[in-house]
């Protein structure tokens, strides 16, 4: 890898790393997932050195070129990350379905209770003006 290529790769990786950091700091990315992308960012930043290492190892590992070796490594790494994230999405989806079901049943229970007169209508002011509700709580 030439010096120009190495600098270009490092600049791109730095951009990726800063972007991952920014969305983590702003709270758009949970720390749990941020670790994965920050880790990849660091790995991408060291890619010129990884390329040198791959150049030394590719023949011993049976890859025709160092680039092929790096590409295969990157593909499997991304495959693993996608699998982990899909597992996480599946879990979230299952939880969302479970919660939707619970909400539906609770809503029906509440409607039945209201119809039987066991509960009063909630204070409308609380729904319209949360600040008002808080002042009510403070006053009590």
């Amino acid at each position: 890898m030439t010096l120009t290529h190495a600098i270009l790769a490092m600049c791109l990786a730095l951009f990726f790393l800063i972007f991952a950091l920014r969305i983590t700091i702003s709270g758009h990315l949970r720390i749990h997932y941020a670790l994965v992308w920050l880790g990849i960012g660091v790995l991408a930043f060291t890619s010129p050195f990884l390329y040198d290492l791959a150049s030394l190892l590719h023949e011993k590992l049976g890859f025709p070129t160092a680039s092929t070796q790096l590409l295969m490594g990157a593909i499997f790494l991304l495959y693993l990350i996608c699998l982990i994230l899909t597992k996480s999405v599946s879990h979230s989806q299952r939880e969302r379905i479970r919660m939707a079901r619970e909400i539906a049943l609770l809503e029906k229970e509440l409607k039945d209770l209201k119809a039987s007169g066991a509960v009063d209508e909630p204070d409308k002011r609380c729904g319209l003006d949360p600040a008002h509700c808080r002042s009510d709580i403070r006053n009590t």
Partner: protein
Amino acid sequence: MNGTECKTLAIIPAWQEEKAIADVVAGVRRYIPNVLVVDDCSADRTGEVAKAAGAQVVRHPINLGYGGAVLTGFLFAERQGYEKVVYLDADGQHDPADIPRLLAGLKSADICIGSRFMGEAGYKMPFLRLLGNQLFGKIAQKLAGCKITDCTSGFRAVSKKGMQFYNSPQCPDDVFDADMLVLAARSGCEITNAQVTMRANTTGKSMHGGIVKPLLYIARMMVGLLCAATHTRKSKP
């Protein structure tokens, strides 16, 4: 109405069925007075029409699909202490007159499948769909170790033990046909079949219409069956 009827609940998962739901509820109430319509976040008046027809209505805040709606019904049934459940489609294709036959099947089993292919008047289905049904039925039969004549039927009766399976975490909620039956059988539920009649679909709607949907369904079913096949069989007492 006797004591047994009081502890039986009919679950009707419904989505955009305001035209058919009133007749279905009225028909079912002749055999089971307690009817629960699970409105899967319909944009039309399905829930209101069902309620006016005398059903209890649970409305999902988001669309969860057919399996999700049936499972909400099972959760409701278990919490309310029902002992038997019958579930059927909201489009009016299933004949409520078959309900007593399905419930009778629960005397010797935990899940009674309303089969469209038993008896002389077999249900006429498009060839490819019939092929898929029979293929998955045979695979499910082999994996479950019991007779399954109609693995995609949405007309079934379930006992309390079956209900416990439906409410357990191992019951799948995305694909809900043959794989679910295999899992139920492998979890120790007895499965039987009862002949039911199927009315013609007048709405023209189908869960498996188009080209992509059936292909996706086949792929999902194959994965579902593969997962079910790895489930350890529980020995029957």
